[in-house]
């Protein structure tokens, strides 16, 4: 029972979404909707929604970054002011709050942005190696549907794709 990949390219986006809708309503043995990957030149929220909700973990990173980095930043600033106790300056307290709030705000943005980007890389699994079933035309104007399925049901899926006028079907033969 080996699994293989197949990529179908469509130039008509409606056909692609129809194909996905068919895949969804079909009940091939051992086939899950999670094994369908859409490859598109632009984002397609309308087709992604057909594929079901796929987890996006970015916001969790953002939340923790925006929460803890400013806290740490404030502690960092305050404790360095306390250790750098050369002398008080300008009659202000050694740990003056208004400047530290300004800096904490910057740390808040910094933490939010950096952790969001980190979360993006982790959640989207970047950087990743491109698998062989990639066609440069996906970045141009075509939409690709990548299927990972058992060899046994591959021909059936291929039939399903063929019904929707794909430009090309790659892989999945052997």
């Amino acid at each position: 029972m080996s699994k293989s990949h197949m990529l179908a390219l469509f130039s008509d986006f409606d056909q692609a979404s129809e194909a996905i809708r068919d895949l969804k309503s079909s009940n091939f043995e051992g086939f899950k909707l999670d094994d369908v990957t859409l490859k598109s030149p632009i984002e397609h929220p309308e087709i992604e929604e057909l594929l079901g909700k796929r987890p996006v973990y970015v916001r969790i990173f953002t939340f923790f970054g925006a929460l803890f980095v400013p806290l740490l930043g404030f502690l960092f600033v305050a404790s360095s002011q306390a250790t750098f106790l050369l002398q008080p300056k300008g009659g202000k307290p050694v740990i003056p709050l208004p400047p530290n709030f300004v800096l904490t705000y910057e740390f808040f943005i910094l933490g939010g942005v950096y952790m969001t980007v980190l979360g993006f890389f982790i959640s989207a699994k970047l950087p990743m190696k491109r698998n062989k079933l990639y066609n440069a035309r996906v970045s141009e104007d075509q939409i690709g549907i990548l299927i990972k399925a058992e060899d046994a049901i591959m021909p059936a899926i291929k039939d399903l794709f063929t019904r929707h006028n794909p430009l090309e079907i790659m892989g999945g033969d052997n």
Partner: protein, 485 residues
């Protein structure tokens, strides 16, 4: 009353009358790729001429800086009390220009304003490079540039830290945050385009793009994450951009110098920053449109929108400028009032009145449709508005320092020496060089977002989003609970 399918369709169509699109909706997607990738190809000879000219200008700045480094800041003809001169003025000007790129991009992205898409990429790149240029002035103005790292909070065995009370340290933090964040924002937004470049490039460039696009394949998981990330970053960058220039303004607003010590400075600086930034976006818009033949993407309706926005920002700036004068005048603080009178009537009066004219009167020309529709006039306008904004920064710095609280130290006759002018000129060369290199290495128009712009329209036409998403009409979706909008 239950409508039939057709009746609903007609009603929906009527409700959603499509706005005219800012770019031609029938451009083939492959042509978009081709047109924009063409801008990355081997440049025309004129590119090298301008590039070498910029480099020469940069070398002028570098040699002035070397001379100043060797001799001391006296050669810049700075003195007590005029200790800052053009360096800080030009620093604020560059950093202000950097605000429109990211701010505009983030704001319009959050507001789903489509017309941002063809122009945001080069604006963000402009932001990055103006920040890098501004950072040069922070270094150049220091008396001991070789010890600039004292300002950075780094752990060391002496337990010395920067003075976190100083607005200059807030500056360094804010600008550091802004520079790295807007660089990340630019990069993240560029990943899908880098993948396009990777798919079309050969040789060493292929390696570069392969490395930078991180194996982007445009899968739905990647896009979903990308969408969330990009929106989140935009939400962070908007308040950041506002905070950065507010913090730059506290360099002045938090000091005791009359003419600096003004409560309305933070919004005033932010407004001025957006204003001059929009002007430089227009300048670059025209330059790129002409050089790379981007007429189909950087269209006149977009230029017109930019012009209107510039006018709006100019009016905000004018208002805040006038309110600064008014509060100073009616506040009747002796020192501040004197500083204001000195600026309007003293030796800096010609520059001051010119600044007010270029900043507040000139933009009224933008109310005329014929002005907004004429490219040469817009180029002229954008350059002169920016010149006015540079004068504004200079008029904040120099006359104010010349006429402080203490009458014995008043000093009228300081004029920047050739070293200062040379370094200011060198900064233009530096910015030009960086921006030209960027435009030849990375796509200066976002390919995937222009496609999105077209796709929304095409999708709307063919299937009618509203109908397709209505569960009453589409029974499939009713079962799923409808599409989240």
């Amino acid at each position: 009353m239950v409508n039939t399918y057709e009746e609903t369709e007609v009603a929906v169509e009527k409700r959603f009358v499509p706005k005219p699109l800012d770019i031609n909706a029938d451009i083939a997607w492959a042509k978009i790729n081709k047109d924009i990738l063409r801008s990355l190809e081997r440049p025309r000879p004129i590119f090298w001429v301008i590039f070498i000219a910029s480099f020469a200008l940069f070398l002028v700045g570098v040699s002035c800086e070397v001379y100043q480094y060797q001799t001391g800041l006296g050669v810049a003809n700075l003195n007590n009390p005029q200790v800052w001169g053009l360096y800080i003025a030009t620093f604020i000007w560059w950093i202000g220009m950097g605000h429109s790129g990211t701010l505009l991009s983030a704001l319009l992205h959050i507001m789903h304003a489509d017309w941002r898409k063809p122009i945001y990429r080069y604006s963000e790149a402009m932001t990055t490079f103006t920040l890098l240029t501004a950072a040069l002035f922070v270094l150049v103005h220091l008396g001991r540039i070789w010890q600039f790292y004292y300002v950075v909070a780094y752990p060391n065995e002496r337990w010395t830290w920067p003075n976190f009370q100083s607005p200059l340290v807030w500056d360094a933090t804010a600008i550091g945050t802004y520079l790295t964040s807007s660089l990340l924002f630019l990069y993240i937004g560029m990943i899908p385009d880098l993948a396009i470049c990777r798919d079309n490039a050969i040789g060493i460039r292929k390696k570069l793009y392969t490395f930078m696009s991180l194996g982007w394949m445009g899968t739905d998981r990647q896009w979903a994450n990308f969408r969330v990330t990009y929106l989140t970053l935009a939400c962070f960058l908007m308040p950041l951009a506002v905070s950065v220039h507010s913090i730059v303004s506290t360099d002045f607003a938090a000091s005791q110098q009359p003419g600096y010590h003004i409560t309305s400075f933070p919004p005033y600086f932010v407004a001025g920053a957006i204003y001059s930034g929009l002007a430089v976006i227009i300048t670059l818009f025209i330059v790129l449109r002409y050089t790379f033949r981007f007429e189909e993407y950087m269209t006149m309706p977009i230029l017109e929108k930019l012009a209107k926005l510039t006018f709006a920002a100019g009016m905000v700036w004018t208002y805040l400028n006038l309110i600064e004068y008014a509060t100073t005048w009616y506040g009747n603080d002796m020192y501040a009032k004197q500083a204001l009178i000195y600026r309007a009537t003293g030796p800096f009066a010609p520059e001051w009145w010119m600044m007010n004219f270029l900043g507040s009167v000139l933009p009224f020309a933008l109310t005329f449709k014929r002005v907004r529709a004429s490219i040469p006039v817009m180029l002229f306008m954008s350059i002169f508005i920016n010149f006015g904004m540079w004068l504004e920064r200079w008029m904040i710095i120099s006359p104010t320092l010349a006429h402080g609280i203490y009458p014995w130290t008043w000093d009228d006759d300081q004029w920047p020496s050739f070293v200062q002018w040379g370094i200011v000129a060198g900064s233009f060369g530096w910015f030009n060089m960086l921006f030209m290199l960027y435009c030849k290495i990375f796509p200066s128009v976002s390919m995937y977002e222009v496609k999105e712009m077209l796709h929304e329209r095409r999708f709307f036409k063919s299937t009618n989003v509203a109908t397709a998403r209505d569960p009453a009409i589409n029974p499939d979706l009713a079962v799923e609970g409808g599409l989240a909008s």
